[in-house]
Point group: C2
Chain length 185, copies 2
Amino acid sequence: MKILALSGSLRAASINTMLLRVMAQVAPRDIQVSVYDGLGKLPLFNADLESRYPAPVLEFHRAVAAADALVFASPEYAHGVTGTIKNALDWLVGFEPFAAKFVAVLNTSPRAHHADDALRETLKTMAAVVVEPASISIPLLGAGLDESAMAATPAIAAAVLECLRCLQHAVVSTSGSVTAEFPLG
Amino acid sequence: MKILALSGSLRAASINTMLLRVMAQVAPRDIQVSVYDGLGKLPLFNADLESRYPAPVLEFHRAVAAADALVFASPEYAHGVTGTIKNALDWLVGFEPFAAKFVAVLNTSPRAHHADDALRETLKTMAAVVVEPASISIPLLGAGLDESAMAATPAIAAAVLECLRCLQHAVVSTSGSVTAEFPLG
């Protein structure tokens, strides 16, 4: 199973990006998690370009189409989604392979709810299937953990693994095309 | 008085951009409305760049600082703000001259409320003063009007003029530094 992980922050030390990297580290052998590094290269969405997509958009579309499920982790900026994550989604509106895709929305700052609510509303509007048991809150903001410390924290490793298991369960129960190789919770 | 007008759509035939251009056309002599054309040139926000802002960000900051008030007109994409307008705002978070700025939020598609609500929430969080009487709904989506037709429609011209009057009233009553040269409603 292939998971595409999207971080809404371009900051090098982003806790959201780090959490997704930890997810890639701890993923079981039958789940491949790729943290997408091209969101910062996407141009700002312009419907006039839809007749001839710029190369970074085509690359993004290919990555989305190839994934069985997507995981989002994005900070909240000024009580809103980040421009970066919304811009990425704007390029997926009307992109047929995105519809009905299973998605999980991680929230690293559970006290912040505006961006989380808005991201879920947009994803549902775009006909993605938000897998609720996979959409976990992991309070990391202010915890001061780097990537190694996150991976070494059993509760965090267990939470991202649980997210992956729930996504896999959703994908397997629907398509039947992916073989689960570990017990599903 | 100087008004900076920001459209959340980069599409050439955007009704939001057209409405702002009409506003610039019908503005009284003592109000200068500039429709900013640089939002599409802004890089995606990255906090790591805040120590050395890219040139398009500096230009945007200068334009914002020079304005007495801002007018936003932005479409709704998938029940959310556009990535373009949120990205522009992300670059203004913590930009001191933006705080306490008077702003109006125009809504050209009154049946859509998610993006309008989210934009207002973000603006208020950023300490902008949303001038409610200036924040007018003008149902243009699907009306099929081009810029000339909008300008020639008395109700539209009156609505954008009213928006400007209300903004001017807010600026004048607060600062006292701008001389109103036409009767305020």
